[in-house]
Amino acid sequence: MDPKLLGENNMRFMVMVKANKDSEAGVMPSEKLLAEMGKYNEELVKAGVLLAAEGLQPSSKGARVRFSGSKRTVIDGPFTETKELIAGFWILQARSKAEVIEWVKRCPNPMEGESEIEIRQVFEAEDFGAEFTPELRAQEDRIREEIAKKK
């Protein structure tokens, strides 16, 4: 396959809205913001770029599992480093990162005051390049198959 063609078009991005004090406190967005966000999401759908979107509950309702060697420790939320937490995400399909940036610039400010939206590209198998040999790929396929069987 022409990797250029693949790379050009087959791109998915996770677009994450960072949490803030309000979202972590479970404060619901204003009606105005909900309406604006609804309109924005509609634009994304109309343009055929939105694959999925979800809002996340505050971290107080979540948990973490910490790994240390073979030890696992469960830590219940809430978590303190608010700015590093995620309050919601979109999965967008676009032809380039620049296109996603253009879309995100059009998003209404998701929070009152300061906020940040982070754009990350989703890995495709092709991205692993030469490191991802046919053997490794076959191994991963076998693992996935095992998982599928157990479901």
């Binding site: 343009a47 940036i101 879309w103 046919p134 790929r137 076959a138 396929d141």
Partner: protein, 428 residues
Amino acid sequence: MTATDTHQAIDAVWRIEAPKVIAGLARLVRDIGLAEDLAQDALVAALEQWPSDGVPRNPGAWLMAAAKNRAVDQLRRKTLLERKHQELGYEIETAQALAAPDLVSALDDDVGDDLLRLIFTACHPILPTEARVALTLRLLGGLTTTEIARAFLVPEPTIAQRIVRAKRTLAQEHVAFELPRGADRSARLSSVLEVIYLIFNEGYSATAGGDWMRPALCEDALRLGRVLAELTPREPEVHGLVALMEIQASRAKARVGPGGEPILLFDQNRALWDRLLIRRGLAALERADGFGPRGPYALQAAIAACHARARTPEETNWTEIVRLYADLARLIPSPVVELNRAVAVGMASGPAAGLELVDRLLSEPALEQYHLLSSVRGDLLARLGRRDEARAEFERAASLTRNARERDLLLGRARGESGDRGEKNDRR
């Protein structure tokens, strides 16, 4: 922002805005060729100004305004030159419409209808199919002529010429930039769906060349389909087509091996199927089903959904698939549908029953050169243990396909049926 960043941003803005700008202009100047030229001029202006001035806050409106100014200039010049022109009245009217101050906001309101007009016009049945495809990708997909040429493995001047000719035909035949109504609408919509599915299929199973798939085209078709589904939310077959494409695209990663070779449905690693696309496809099918009996695209989507729901090949509900193909054969009777039904029957009731149906198709002139008839027949014969006949059919199929990867696969199957190594035929 560096110059490269700005250029990438302009490119991105163009991808997002071009169809809307062209559609809005086309309604005003009533000529999609002229509309595209004006939009291109606006793009050139953006390339000159934005790197120094920065990307404007509302880039779509900026492009529209720039294009509109050029349109007004051109029309004024033309009106002065052609005072006695019979279309004078209309042109002045257009000039006034273009000069209206609330134009941009008016365009925003109508942008959906304009886009739909553009789709219907680009897919007008007056144009040859390949011209419809090129024009649609260019005007609605935001693809350049170079990109279209590369995607279809056709020399660039060929595509450029197709587009120029198509625009000329639309102008010469005075094709109105309108939404088709009444009885005309469903035929025109069929043409649109046909173009989108053709683009998808060219990407999904390339008819020519060395690659089994060209996923970029699948993505373009899916995007067009999703856009159309929002523009015509009450058209069940649009949702049916989107469902079909989403579910088929969900298998994209599983149907190509590491060396680029095709992997057939039953040999695919189903863990690689894209669950997100399957979910979207099933949701689109549900939307289509909300409108009553299924049309041909929704039926094909329902068949694809049967496979998507089966976690292993053994779980496939073949009885349901046979029923769906029977429905499809009633709606669009064709030897190809009949061939597919035969495959399903071969699975539901055994290879002998399938072969009986396939053999009835051997005299079909339409299938005489169709490699899949031989390939299916070969498969059924192999399952019946008639290996020599199976090998001959696979070889024949290999000689008929134009796709190099598929040829390798078929020759491989032919080799599998030769000799007496006593290899088990692991075909279900």
